[in-house]
């Protein structure tokens, strides 16, 4: 039998993996009893139900692949650059300050899209920095570090 990798199949596999992971990790906590549950009891119940849901979906989508379609394309470029931009911001905000972090965020996220001229980008960087500093630091008095030094 040929297994079709449909959306439902992948969802089921993902759910099953998360469920199994929860059961395994949940084992390290005290289970307790039904009348006096420890921290592990509820997670293991959740993980078990989740695994069963995942299994059901995998079996059902293998038996009836026509009920679900496959993923046709993944937006790799926007995905990578958007997430890298956000992650970079998290690295810079405390060590290098708000201005550097915002500039990096706007520049890297620009790579996620494909449109717009360089002049526009320069205006965007300037505008975003002014908005961020103006609203959050001066408008709302949130004590954010501004400069790298």
């Amino acid at each position: 039998m040929k297994i079709h990798i449909t959306k439902d199949f992948l969802s089921g596999a993902l759910f099953g993996a998360i469920g199994l992971g929860t059961i395994v990790l949940g084992q390290s906590y005290d289970m307790g009893t039904a009348g006096n549950m420890g921290p592990g009891y509820f997670p293991v119940i959740l993980g078990t139900i989740m695994t069963l849901i995942g299994l059901t979906m995998v079996v059902r989508s293998s038996l009836h692949p026509e009920t679900s379609e496959s993923v046709t394309s993944w937006e790799i470029r926007p995905l990578v650059f958007t997430l890298v931009a956000v992650f970079t911001f998290s690295l810079l905000i405390e060590s290098r300050g708000l201005i550097v972090a915002v500039v990096a965020l706007v520049l890297i996220s620009r790579l996620a899209g494909r449109e717009g001229s360089m002049r526009e980008l320069a205006i965007m960087v300037l505008a975003m920095t002014l908005i961020a500093v103006g609203i959050f630091v001066y408008g709302l008095n949130i004590p954010l570090k501004l400069r790298p030094w």
Binding site: P43, P78, L83
Partner: protein
């Protein structure tokens, strides 16, 4: 009359100049983000939540609520003029609203959507005022078993009423509950699922999950497709609906309000399902169903009313029981908690000025919305021309700083990037994020009440059926599951949803 006393108190609060200003700011911002495709009320409220920390609690709630129902309103403008739902709840308005616009009747379509919305909004608010106090009184008697069953029912509702199969919806709900486990276990004080990270000791912050799941993943998907927008602007000339339009619309408006109000009270059902249900009903009742999809005004009047009625009645379980009926409602509850007010039935009696002030502000806000929307429609249309490449850096900057300011924690931003990835995978696999987010929110509360109920009953599961109220909640959940397994009902639900 106690109600009149309450309402005069409420209007006293809502009509103070500061609160009027907060209300206006809220609905203005709500309309703005409702018009902009790709920016929803959930993300906006999540990101702006830190900005309201400094306001008094009434002002903060009035403004956040204004953003919420203002967005439900503004979403219809985009749906009608651009065939793009500004909010998912306006998806069904696209069908006939856009066709009306193409026939040069954009004005009447916008007007009917606004009239329906304001009527539904006012009736929905009236319902909060009437139903809230008695429901709150009942809820004061709820024990752990009742709360568990009620929240369990909410999870099943939200799982059953999304696109795709019940199993998939439930998978998302439980997945959310699992992510909600991270952090310190309240009963034992033990860190669970923190992977040794300090930033996870308090669990994932809701703002982090919401921004990742809704803002970041949406940006990725929107950048992948080129948004083609055909704005029908030149044709919004005459706003006045004709006498025939009004005659054809008033019944759908009232029916839509009814459907929306009822569905809105049930926790876990979204506004989207209310508008779809109303559309399906109108088409069934129409003498000539073939007109639908070709610019039938009933197809705008009904769903828009249902959508707005549900938006208002969502406040009923949220404010009276302290149980969020949707993700956005959960954020509002979060805002309450930040101001030191524990959500629950006691809010109405311990903070009457807050509850009734909010209710009164909703009437005022709904009237403001009509004034904002109809004469200023040209202004909103101008915003539609803002290219997405200017918009998404703005969303990113606001989201990142907003997330950071909640706990002043840089690791929160990195977690949000992770939820962005997860949300993107969910979107690609057609997994609806709504049950996930509700599971994430209710999961910890469900666990707490489950453990407490079982502790009281010494491990006997019977406690959940021996209480009549708890049994009723569980029966509703079970009934819904059985209903969804019946092939005919499931087919109709899929059909109703697929038509969007």
């Amino acid at each position: 009359m106690e109600l009149i006393q309450h309402l005069s108190l409420g209007f006293g609060v809502a009509l103070s100049p500061m609160n009027l200003a907060y209300c206006f700011a809220g609905v203005l911002l709500g309309t703005f983000i409702g018009v902009l495709p790709g920016v929803g009320p959930l993300v906006t409220i999540a990101v702006l939540l830190p900005l309201t920390f400094g306001l008094p609690p009434e002002g903060a709630m009035i403004m956040l609520a204004g953003i919420y129902y203002g967005a439900a309103y503004g979403g219809s403008t985009t749906a009608i003029l651009v065939n793009l739902p500004g909010e998912s709840s306006s998806a069904v308005t696209c069908i006939d609203g856009y066709q009306m616009a193409r026939q040069g009747r954009a004005g009447p379509a916008l007007a009917i959507a606004a009239i329906g919305s304001v009527i539904a909004g006012c009736i929905g608010t009236l319902l909060i005022a009437f139903v809230g106090p008695p429901l709150g009184a009942v809820a004061l008697k709820f024990g752990a078993a009742e709360y568990f069953s009620l929240m369990f029912m909410a999870l099943i509702c939200s799982s059953a009423l999304v696109r795709g199969s019940l199993v998939k919806g439930m998978g998302m709900a439980f997945c959310g509950a699992i992510f909600g486990l991270a952090g310190t276990d309240v009963n034992s004080g033990i860190d669970r699922f923190t992977f040794g990270m300090d930033g996870l000791a308090e669990g994932f912050d809701f703002v982090v999950v919401a921004a990742g799941l809704f803002a970041f993943s949406e940006i990725v998907v929107n950048l992948g497709v080129s948004l083609k927008r055909e704005v029908l602007t030149g044709r919004v000339t005459n706003l006045m609906p004709t006498r025939e339009d009004l005659k054809a619309s008033w019944k759908p408006i009232l029916r839509g309000t009814g459907i929306g109000s009822i569905l809105g009270v049930l926790p876990g059902t979204g506004q989207t399902i209310a508008s779809f249900a109303s559309y399906a009903l109108e088409r069934k009742l129409a003498k000539d169903p073939s007109r639908f999809g070709k610019g039938a005004i009933e197809g705008v009047a009904g769903p828009e009313s249902a959508n707005n009625a549900a938006a208002q009645t969502h406040f009923i379980p949220t404010l009276t029981l302290g149980i969020p009926s949707s993700a956005t409602m959960a954020l509002l509850l979060g805002a309450l908690m930040i101001h030191g007010i524990t959500p629950g039935p006691q809010v109405m009696t311990s903070h009457p000025e807050l509850f009734w002030g909010l209710v009164a502000s909703m009437w005022i806000g709904n009237v403001m919305l009509v004034i904002l929307n109809l004469p200023l429609v040209g202004l909103w249309v101008a915003f539609l021309k803002v290219p997405y490449r200017w918009l998404y850096p703005l969303i990113l900057v606001f989201s990142c700083i907003g997330i950071y300011t909640v706990n002043m924690s840089a690791s929160d931003i990195a977690f949000a990037a992770f939820f962005g990835l997860l949300g993107y995978v969910f979107l690609k696999l057609d997994c609806e994020p709504a049950p996930f987010i509700l599971g994430f929110l209710l999961g910890p509360m469900i666990e707490e009440n489950f453990r407490r109920a079982m502790l009281q009953s010494h491990g006997n599961l019977e406690v959940f059926v021996s209480s009549p109220l708890s049994a009723v909640f569980l029966a509703i959940a079970l009934g819904l599951v059985i209903l969804m397994v019946v092939p005919l009902v499931r087919k109709q639900k899929d059909q109703a949803i697929a038509e969007g």
